[in-house]
Symmetry: C2
Subunit: 123 residues, 2 copies
DNA sequence: TACGTGTACTATGATACACAGTACACTTTA
DNA sequence: TAAAGTGTACTGTGTATCATAGTACACGTA
């Protein structure tokens, strides 16, 4: 009966980010099997429907793929450039910089954040 | 009766971003008066309540200030460092880079986006 | 006084979120 | 073959948010 949204973001989106972060940092590699919908629900303390919603959305983003009756697996990175998604990213990025400027975060700091991220992801 | 949310973002938040962008690019300067709630509602094609919601949220973010009976004005930039907001920004920034990596946007491209933004804002 | 300002209400309809429960087609395993 | 585990698709419930409409009030200004 509960339905708490923390950090102003839906639970299924928060799960999506956790999974995407694991893929980006190679904690999850291509071909790796994800926990089943019901298993992940127990792990994360969520409803299986909520996990299924996250899985389906991630499949739509080409992050994972599902094989009928087998499970869900990390998908090979798509080689096709997604112009629409990149445009949305650019727009979000602009909003982020408006916010950064307001909070008096310097561009040098932003540069550093980028470098730190790509350094940690290299290992 | 309508209630269309475009771009998967509430109308009042979209308005907030437009105003914040105008402040960041100095289209709106400190002390400038914003259109009244009812006037802005006509301009943007929104309900006065929706505009009021955006104004109130922006006041909470110290972007604007309201003077009783007079109107709303662009506020002086706060000198206090908002650690909490910066931490949230950092988190959003990380998610953004996860997305960028997935879309095969290079860190060099991200660096360029930053420089372009701060260059345009200088004028 | 009259007007414009932000604000605070109540109410309605639409939508999204998260949950509970059931069911089905599929694959693998025993 | 039978059983168990997979994703998926439903229906339904409760909650919250969003956007609208309409009314009202205290305040400042002309």
């Amino acid at each position: 009966m509960m339905a708490k949204i923390q950090h102003n973001q839906p639970l299924y989106e928060q799960l999506m980010w956790r999974i995407k972060a694991q893929v980006a940092t190679s904690v999850l590699k291509v071909g790796d099997k994800l926990p089943s919908v019901r298993e992940m629900a127990l792990i994360e303390g969520l409803n299986p429907n909520t996990v299924a919603k996250a899985y389906k959305a991630l499949e739509g983003q080409q992050v994972i793929e599902t094989v009928a009756g087998k499970g869900t697996f990390v998908r090979q990175v798509d080689t096709v450039v997604d112009e629409k998604a990149i445009n949305e990213l650019r727009n979000d990025f602009n909003n982020m910089m408006i916010e950064a400027k307001r909070l008096q975060v310097t561009p040098e700091q932003l540069h550093q954040w980028i470098d730190e991220f790509y350094l940690e992801g290299q290992q």
